[in-house]
Symmetry: C2
Subunit: 226 residues, 2 copies
DNA sequence: CCGATATTCTAAGTATCCTTAGATTGATAG
DNA sequence: CTATCAATCTAAGGATACTTAGAATATCGG
């Protein structure tokens, strides 16, 4: 059937086009990766580019797109421009898209399995239960992200030892206590590397998949500062 | 800074690419419109094409994309293929994207204002409060969508009078009672037209912007059947 | 003011996607 | 079996987006 012009079609097209601008912002893998990195806190262009392993120019171009869709905003501080998510709804969008993709796309499930089924990682960890155990000191919750990301927001009772320093700071981890390590989220490899290192040194360590964005979107509390 | 190859980059690229498939599915205005229509219940290709005012061929191509992203699925019944959302999470995604766009994009806000500030539409209506008023019979909640969409899912206590029949069925609406009309959602014009008609005939009628997808994603109850 | 650093702007080639037209498949009715 | 209808597949032109390179802008320290 050939389309028939009805009143209101122009305005409808305009409305859907506007929503599609948000969609266009999240249809590129690199932009999604930048959003995930920004879920950990604000970063300048150079930090973002290294984290996503792309050129500064390309990062700048993608950030421009994200800014046009009003998902991120920039703040100048001296020579640097620091980008951040406009608000936590954007982090929720990222978590929702990732969750939808995980549940639906078999290729992703297969790739995740490669990431996960190495040592450590038992059943998915329940947030509230972990919180209670950490409060009672039964487990050590370990945040292996860079220190500035820990300061921006971290899980309650978590201790910060960035992955890069872990090898030299093993003494800070009580020998008998089980360790639950987390990082930026399910796609981040830092917690996995930390668990590998710890188990090689004879510690009992498991990886928790969620990062602060997933944690928050589940309605669980976060802490910030030292 | 030039990107430096780290271990795990290939698998990371793969992961973000998979999530971007969901993003690609929602970066086209027409695909978004199809998703919104499917939030009202299952439809065949021809119905979808007319509702979105595009050719059957184009609708078929877009549906193929949506199917590839596992957001919709098809079911053959005789000569027709009926499409539906894979589950209500997809409707939640649509509501989330629309909400993000509304809050962020000024052009969309301006367009919405044109749609809304005509007669009717006071303050945004509170769902729970409306439910209580409808239960007590203080207002008539009117569903002006086609009858099959009403049967699939509708607001509790709502009465179905499709927009196309409204003119001939005015007698069914008690003269004194205020009417709250709703349709497919904020981008749909049917409720607005119904309110225009009713107010011209001297009834007290306002439009409610939300549709069943928005209603459900707020955690409010729905009814189905006659 | 000058040089150095961080970031963006502009331009261009390449790749990808949108949209339409024509041919094709699948199911049904006679 | 054949005609018909619904929907899809294939192919192709035009538009749009991704990515990189080179030039330009803004800030800071001297």
């Amino acid at each position: 059937m050939v389309a028939m012009k009805k009143p209101g079609r122009e305005i409808k097209n305009l409305l859907y086009e506007q929503v599609a601008r948000i969609g266009k912002a999240v249809c590129s893998p690199k932009r999604l990766e930048l959003i995930e990195i920004l879920c950990q806190g604000e970063k300048n262009v150079d930090e973002l580019a290294s984290a996503a392993e792309i050129s500064v120019k390309l990062a700048s171009a993608h950030l421009k797109e994200l800014k046009a869709a009003r998902l991120v905003e920039g703040r100048r501080e001296g020579k640097n421009i620091f980008y951040r998510l406009v608000d936590t709804q954007v982090a929720d969008l990222w978590v929702m898209l990732r969750t939808l993709a995980e549940e639906r796309l078999l290729e992703l499930q297969a790739a995740m399995r490669d990431l996960v089924t190495r040592p450590g990682e038992l059943a998915p960890i329940d947030g509230k239960q972990l919180l209670a155990q950490a409060k009672r000191g039964e487990v050590l919750v370990l945040d292996v992200r860079p220190a500035d990301e820990y300061e921006t927001a971290h899980l309650p009772y978590a201790r910060s030892i960035p992955l890069s320093e872990l090898k030299n700071r093993l003494a800070e981890i009580p020998a008998g206590k089980p360790v639950v390590a987390y990082c930026r989220g399910p796609f981040c490899l830092m917690a996995k590397e930390a668990v590998d290192l710890l188990t090689r040194r004879g510690r009992q360590a498991v990886r928790m998949e969620v990062g602060v964005a997933e944690w928050r979107s589940q309605g669980l509390p976060l802490t910030s500062g030292e």
